[in-house]
C-alpha cells in the first residue's frame, strides 16, 4: 500500500471549537506523508463519515478537547458500520473527559466505544503516526519529520 494514497479524515467533534491542536495534527500527519482531509472544528459525526465515504479514507481521527467527549464520541463506530464503513480505522484523542480520571480508565472507556486507539494530551505524535502506519498496513516507512 502506497502511503501517499492513505487518506485520513481529521476533525474536532461536537460543538468543540478548540482549533490549535487540530491544525497541528493536520500539519504533522501531512508532513509524514498522509493525505489529510481536515474538516476543522465543530464537526458532527455524520460529516466525518460523509467525508470518509467520498474520499475513500481508511482512517478517521477524532479530537475532543472541551470535556464532552464521552457524549459526542459515543455511537460513532456503530454509525460507521451502519453507513458502510465497517473497516475504517478510528482514533480518538484530546481532553476526553472532565476532571481527573485515571488514563487507563479513559482509554478503556473509549476502546469499548469502538475506537481502535485512544490518545491523551501530551501524547507523542510520532508514535501515533507510526501506529497508524501499521494499522493501515502501509509497508514503506513514513516521510521524515
Amino acid at each position: 500500500m502506497d502511503k501517499k494514497r492513505a487518506t485520513i479524515v481529521l476533525g474536532v467533534i461536537g460543538s468543540d471549537c478548540h482549533s490549535v491542536g487540530n491544525k497541528i495534527l493536520e500539519l504533522y500527519f501531512a508532513k509524514r506523508g498522509f493525505h489529510v482531509v481536515n474538516l476543522g472544528v465543530m464537526v458532527p459525526q455524520d460529516e466525518f463519515i460523509d467525508a470518509a465515504i467520498e474520499t475513500g479514507a481508511r482512517a478517521i481521527l477524532v479530537s475532543s478537547l472541551y470535556g464532552h467527549g464521552e457524549i459526542d464520541c459515543a455511537g460513532f463506530r456503530e454509525r460507521c458500520v451502519e453507513r458502510g464503513l465497517e473497516k475504517v480505522v478510528l482514533y480518538v484523542g484530546g481532553n476526553l473527559v472532565v476532571g481527573k480520571t485515571e488514563p487507563e480508565i479513559i482509554v478503556d472507556k473509549f476502546r469499548k466505544m469502538g475506537y481502535d486507539r485512544v490518545f491523551l494530551p501530551g501524547c507523542n505524535l510520532g508514535e501515533a503516526a507510526e501506529l497508524l502506519r501499521q494499522d493501515l498496513g502501509i509497508t514503506e516507512p513514513l516521510d521524515p519529520e
Binding site: V41, E47, E54
Partner: protein, 502 residues
C-alpha cells in the same frame, strides 16, 4: 461618433408560449426593445417559432431603431400577435441575427447520481441547475436494479454521474457505473466523479453516449462546477437538436439554442459584471409548473464567529422547485403551503386551475386567490433556496452554525415569468418573513426593493447576454418596473412575526 444601431431577434420557446422580441443594440438611444410578439407554443415547435419570427423581422431590410407602433402595445404585458397574413408564412428567412432558447418538451431533464446526499449529490444538483437543467431525480450511494429501472422509465436527457473526490472512493462509484453500463439507458451520460476512474469509466461505458470531465468535487469542500456545466451544455445541444424537434430551427437561423434557465443565468452574470448596483440580487421566475430562484450574493460571510458546515454554495446559484407553480403544480403548491394559507374556497380555486392550466382569472376574488397562492409560492421557493443559521449551545455560550446560502445582503428582488408580470402584486413579499419563533434563522434577504420584469423580457435578454453583456444588462435593468415604489421592504417589527438575528 456613436456606433450605428444593429438589430437582434431573441426568441424563447416556452412550454406554453413562444415569445420573442426585436431589439436595437448600439444605437444613440441605447439598447431598446422595438417590438414584441407571442404565440402559443405549437406541438411542432418550428411552427410557433416561425410565426413569432415573421412577426418580428423588420420590413424593408436595413437596421431599424424606431419603435414599431403597429405591433407593439406599450405598457401591455400581453404582446402583439402577428397579423393574420403572417400566420400562414411557413418559414421566414430573417435578415436579422436570431438567438433562441427553449424550455419546451420538459426542458433539459437531468438525473443526478452521487454518493453522499450532503456532498456529491448536492453538488451534482447545483451543477445540473446552473447548466439550465431540471433535476428529475437524484440518487445517493449505491444504485440498485430498482433505481436503474426507475432511471430507464424516467428516460432523462442526461444522467450526471458524480461520486468520490479525486483519488477517493472507487468501489461504489465503479459499481454505479457498471450498473449504468448494463442498463438500457440510451441518453448521454456525463461522468464528473473521481477523476482517477476516468479510464475505467470510459471502458465500462464504451457502449453509451459518454462525456467524461473533471470532478465536480475534487476535494471535500472544494466545488468545481464549470467543467460539468460545459459538458451538460454540449450534451444539451445534441439532445435538443436531435430529440426535441429543434433541428429545423437551428438550420434556419444558424445558431444553437440555449436552455431557457441558462439564458437567465447568463443575464445574471452580465448584470453582476456590468452594472455597479447589481452585486447582491435575486430573481424569482414563477411559472405554472415550476418556480426558479436565482441568487447572486456571497454564500458565507462568517461574521459573529459563525461556522459554515456542508457545501460552500456558489456566488450565483439557481434552484428549481418542480412542485411549486400557479397552475400545473397548483395542487402540490397548496399541499406545501396549506399550513399557512388554507380555506375551502382557495382549495376549490386550486383544483379548478390545476385542471385548466390556461385559465386566466378575471373576477376580483379569483385574482385575490392567485395573489395568495403566488405569495405562498415565492415564500416557499425562497425559503428552500436560503440557508439556515442554527444556534448551538456550547459550554461557553452560543455558537452559530450556518448551512446553505446566506441571502441576507440581497438588496434587489426581481420577479419575472408570466404570472408575476400579470399579478404585479406589491404585497408579494409581505408574508415572507413570518415564521414561528425558534432557534433557527432562515437566511432570507433582510431588506430589498422589489421590481418586476413586466414584459417578460429577461429570458429574451438572457439569450443575448453572453455575446452582448453590456447592452443586455443595461436594458434588463431599465425595463424593470419598481413595484414597491422604490420602497425598501423590511421584515415587520412585530413580536413573533419577524425573525431576529441570533
Amino acid at each position: 461618433m456613436k456606433p450605428a444601431p444593429h438589430n437582434l431577434i431573441s426568441i424563447d420557446i416556452g412550454s406554453t408560449y413562444t415569445k420573442g422580441a426585436l431589439f436595437a443594440f448600439g444605437g444613440p438611444a441605447g439598447a431598446r426593445v422595438l417590438k414584441r410578439c407571442e404565440v402559443p407554443t405549437t406541438p411542432h415547435l418550428t411552427d410557433g417559432f416561425n410565426r413569432v419570427l415573421a412577426g418580428l423581422v423588420p420590413r424593408g431590410g436595413g437596421a431599424v431603431d424606431k419603435v414599431d407602433t403597429v405591433d407593439r402595445v406599450d405598457g401591455n404585458p400581453r404582446a402583439a400577435t402577428p397579423a393574420a397574413s403572417t400566420l400562414s408564412t411557413p418559414s421566414t428567412v430573417s435578415t436579422v441575427p436570431v438567438r433562441f432558447s427553449s424550455s419546451a418538451k420538459g426542458g433539459l431533464r437531468i438525473a443526478a447520481v452521487g454518493l453522499v446526499p450532503e456532498l456529491t449529490v448536492k453538488i451534482a444538483k447545483l451543477a445540473a441547475c446552473s447548466a439550465g437543467g431540471k433535476v428529475v431525480r437524484a440518487f445517493a450511494y449505491g444504485l440498485t436494479s430498482e433505481s436503474v429501472a426507475e432511471l430507464e422509465a424516467l428516460a432523462p436527457d442526461i444522467v450526471l454521474v458524480t461520486g468520490g473526490t479525486d483519488g477517493g472512493n472507487r468501489e461504489r462509484v465503479l459499481e454505479n457505473v457498471r450498473l449504468l453500463a448494463a442498463s438500457r439507458l440510451a441518453c448521454t451520460i456525463v461522468y464528473a466523479g473521481n477523476s482517477e476512474l476516468a479510464c475505467e469509466v470510459r471502458k465500462l461505458l464504451a457502449g453509451k453516449k459518454l462525456r467524461v470531465t473533471d470532478n465536480v468535487m475534487p476535494e471535500v469542500d472544494r466545488m468545481n462546477l464549470e467543467p460539468a456545466r460545459a459538458e451538460i451544455r454540449h450534451a444539451f445541444l445534441e439532445t435538443i437538436v436531435e430529440g426535441k424537434g429543434l433541428a429545423e430551427v437551428v438550420r434556419a437561423v444558424g445558431a444553437p439554442p440555449k436552455p431557457t434557465p441558462l439564458a437567465m443565468f447568463e443575464l445574471a452574470e452580465a448584470l453582476a459584471a456590468r452594472r455597479p448596483r447589481w452585486r447582491d440580487f435575486m430573481v424569482v421566475d414563477m411559472g405554472g409548473a415550476t418556480t426558479d430562484v436565482y441568487s447572486h450574493t456571497e454564500a458565507f460571510m462568517g461574521g459573529d464567529g459563525a461556522v459554515l458546515r456542508g457545501v460552500h454554495e456558489p456566488l450565483l446559484k439557481r434552484s428549481v422547485e418542480g412542485d411549486l407553480g400557479l397552475r400545473v403544480s397548483a395542487l402540490p403548491l397548496y399541499e406545501a403551503v396549506k399550513d399557512s394559507v388554507h380555506s375551502p374556497e382557495l382549495e376549490a380555486f386550486v383544483r379548478k386551475v390545476a385542471a385548466a392550466p390556461d385559465y386566466l382569472p378575471q373576477a376580483p376574488e379569483e385574482l385575490e386567490y392567485d395573489r395568495v397562492l403566488a405569495r405562498a409560492c415565492v415564500k416557499e421557493a425562497v425559503l428552500r433556496h436560503a440557508g439556515i443559521l442554527r444556534s448551538v449551545w456550547t459550554p461557553t455560550g452560543r455558537v452559530s452554525v450556518q448551512h446553505g446560502k446566506d441571502l441576507r445582503r440581497v438588496r434587489t428582488m426581481v420577479g419575472t415569468g408570466g404570472s408575476l408580470a400579470r399579478l404585479r402584486d406589491p404585497q408579494l413579499w409581505s408574508g415572507m418573513w413570518a415564521k414561528p419563533d425558534g432557534e433557527e434563522l432562515n437566511l432570507l434577504p433582510e431588506q430589498f426593493e422589489y421590481k418586476v420584469d413586466a414584459e417578460y423580457l429577461w429570458p429574451l435578454l438572457g439569450n443575448l447576454a453572453a455575446e452582448f453583456p453590456e447592452e443586455a444588462a443595461a436594458l434588463a435593468e431599465n425595463c424593470l418596473q419598481p413595484l414597491s415604489g422604490g420602497v425598501i421592504l423590511t421584515p415587520p417589527e412585530t413580536p413573533g412575526g419577524c425573525q431576529r438575528r441570533v
